[in-house]
């Protein structure tokens, strides 16, 4: 019976190959379209924010002692008399071309400012989330597998500490201990002063750039500067990730199919990692994605304590200076990061959960 079925299946598979490719392209097109629409929505929001805040963009340019005529002329030149829709279209057009306007505070294009500060945050957040995942997930799994034992208690206390300890305090104590006293790590900033600007900028990620340049002194210095703030960020995300992993795992370990696995004589290690952990990967992707997006917003506390020239610092400074172009540009980047991470998690779901494929 199956013998006669197999050749039929094969021809069916061949017949399906063409449409399958088309379907794949269609799906990819659909994803791109939804991303584009979401991004347009984001632009609409930043545009509206830019128009409703009580900061006069003309005043920011001409200063408060300009004459009425100058003011009106500049206002006209900036296109602020045009209908809102026209202004919005112009804004979208500019953003698409990578033009986010000038920053009043730095006097440079916001786009080039962001290209400088975002990689600094990206580098730190990525190392932070890696620590969070590599340490946090196994911790959560272990706590669930040993529920109620001292191992579980210790891990829960660590998780609680991640919620309760303020980031700036941990940052300062870390600096005092590991930098000032023990001299194990570099101090504030991304790199030692005498090495600053010695590495040609390619990606903006100092570790990567110094690797490409083969500048080992710079690599060592950059690594010694990033290790402490990244570890502290990693601690906060691992606390959250471990807590969530633990509760997902506890829910899984109560499922009937865990009993089925044990009935089959499957070793406990496999029960935990294959039968209980596999189903929670989808939920974990959500948690990790959100946690990563949170880190990419830039932790203002950590960036301030470590004088880290990241996006969190940039955005805060821009807000305090009423530097609207910079604020909107940074908001846009953060929004785009959220969109990207959400889409990425969606794609991962389909990979990890057979039920999400159909």
């Amino acid at each position: 019976m199956t013998q006669t079925l197999t050749p039929g299946d094969q021809t069916a598979a061949l017949r399906d190959a063409g449409p399958r490719l088309a379907r794949g392209l269609l799906a990819a097109g659909g994803v791109l379209l939804t991303v584009a629409l979401t991004f347009l929505g984001l632009l609409a929001i930043t545009f509206v924010i830019g128009r409703v805040v009580p900061i006069d963009p003309v005043l920011a340019v001409v200063g408060d002692r300009a004459s009425r005529e100058t003011y009106d002329a500049v206002r006209l030149a900036m296109g602020l008399d045009d209908p809102l829709l026209v202004q919005f279209a112009r804004y979208v057009g500019a953003v698409v071309q990578g033009d986010l306007g000038q920053s009043v505070a730095t006097g440079r294009a916001v786009a080039s400012d962001l290209a400088r500060v975002f990689p600094a945050t990206l580098e730190m957040a990525t190392i932070g989330i890696l620590i969070g995942v590599v340490v946090g997930v196994p911790m959560g799994v272990l706590a669930a597998a040993r529920q109620g034992t001292w191992v579980d208690q210790v891990i829960r206390v660590v998780g609680l500490a991640g919620y309760a300890i303020p980031a700036f305090w941990l940052g300062l104590v870390g600096l005092v201990l590991f930098y000032a006293k023990l001299r194990w790590v570099g101090g504030p900033g991304r790199i030692d002063l005498f090495l600053d600007g010695m590495v040609p900028v390619r990606t903006g990620l100092l570790l990567v750039d110094s690797l490409i340049a083969g500048n080992w002194a710079a690599l060592r210095s950059a690594a010694s500067h990033i290790v402490l703030p990244a570890t502290i960020l990693g601690f906060f995300s691992l606390a959250y990730i471990a807590r969530m992993t633990r509760s997902f795992m506890l829910e899984q370990l109560g499922q009937e199919y865990i009993t089925t696995a044990r009935v089959k004589g499957v070793p406990e290690r496999v029960v935990i990692w294959r039968h209980a952990f596999r189903p929670i990967r989808v939920q974990l992707v959500t948690v990790i994605g959100l946690s990563y997006a949170g880190l990419l917003e830039g932790s203002v506390m950590i960036e301030t304590v470590f004088s880290w020239p990241g996006i969190g610092n940039y955005l805060t400074t821009a807000l305090l200076n009423a530097d609207m172009n910079a604020v909107l540009g940074a908001t846009l980047v953060i929004g785009a990061v959220f969109i990207g991470i959400n889409k990425g998690s969606d794609l991962l779901y389909r990979l990890l959960d057979p039920r999400a494929r159909t």
Binding site: V263, P267, H275
Partner: protein, 283 residues
């Protein structure tokens, strides 16, 4: 020949308020290569008996017995490692609802092959062949296709047949079936039971069929133990259901609706009378 010999099996759990509550209280029975039915209402300790025999009661639950022997092996002192070597290979258990008892993210074939993975040293190809045989044995027509499916892609009846295939793939000596059909559509119950019955007879396995359905158990089993409140209150021989004497069993039989009757109300169990019987039995 006795496959399983149990004497004074007790299962207890701690109460939140302190002390322990016994859910199985002094169960004793012998099982050969036959079909033994265990019936009783919810909470009578049927399922806990099955799980205790499989060594699956986790702390703080506690299992004690004067004797619990499986084919000459003393289960009361067996290490977890040795127990694991028995489970899936020589004793297995079919669970109630395939919607919950099959892992949703692992392919059916891989789930069946798992028992082979940890109990034999067969090659991957040989494991696939065995999986195929097992699926054919539960009357699945295109085993290769079904083996590649995920549990959410098959019906409940087929899911339960997959479950049975998973539990017989290593031809165990004892199979416990814990309410194997109560989650299924009435129309596929008979089919699933007849597949199970066929496998059990042909391979000379011992079957323990746990159910609350007295008539079903009577039809498929050689002997029936009636459980009430964690104890066996009556043992019924083949075809002797009508001769049951214990008030609990009689109550259960009386509460079953029949097609050829005209009762406006079904009788319920007289629990006060049952409590009196319980007290007399325990001086």
């Amino acid at each position: 020949m006795t496959l399983l010999s149990v004497q004074d099996l007790r299962v207890s759990f701690p109460r939140p308020s302190g002390g322990r509550v016994e859910v199985v209280r002094g169960l004793s029975f012998d099982l050969g290569r036959e079909r033994l039915g265990i019936v009783g209402e919810s909470g009578s300790g049927k399922s806990m008996t099955g799980r205790a025999l499989m060594g699956l009661i986790a702390p703080p639950g506690r299992v004690t017995a004067q004797r619990m022997q499986f084919d000459g092996i003393d289960l009361t002192t067996l290490s977890e490692k040795d127990y694991r070597a028995l489970r899936g290979a020589r004793m297995s258990m079919v669970l109630q609802d395939p919607k919950f008892s099959l892992n949703p993210v692992i392919r059916i074939g891989d789930q069946i092959a798992e028992a082979l993975e940890f109990h034999t040293s067969l090659s991957a190809a040989a494991r696939r062949a065995k999986v195929r045989d097992a699926l054919e044995a539960v009357r699945i027509d295109d085993p290769d296709r079904v083996a590649r499916l995920f549990p959410h892609e098959v019906s409940g009846g087929m899911g339960q047949r997959v479950m049975i295939a998973m539990m017989v793939v290593l031809e165990p000596d004892l199979m416990i079936a814990d309410e194997p059909t109560s989650a299924l559509d009435v129309s596929v119950r008979e089919q699933v039971l007849s597949i199970m019955d066929d496998l059990v007879r042909r391979r000379g396995m011992g079957l323990m069929l746990i159910s609350h359905d007295l008539n079903m158990v009577a039809r498929w089993c050689d002997r029936i133990l009636v459980m009430f409140n964690g104890e066996v209150v009556e043992e019924i021989g083949p075809g002797a259901l009508h001769a049951a004497t214990h008030p609990y069993t009689r109550g259960l039989i009386a509460s079953l609706p029949r097609l050829d009757e005209d009762r406006s109300e079904l009788p319920v169990l007289d629990r006060a009378a049952l409590a009196r019987v319980g007290q007399e039995a325990r001086p």
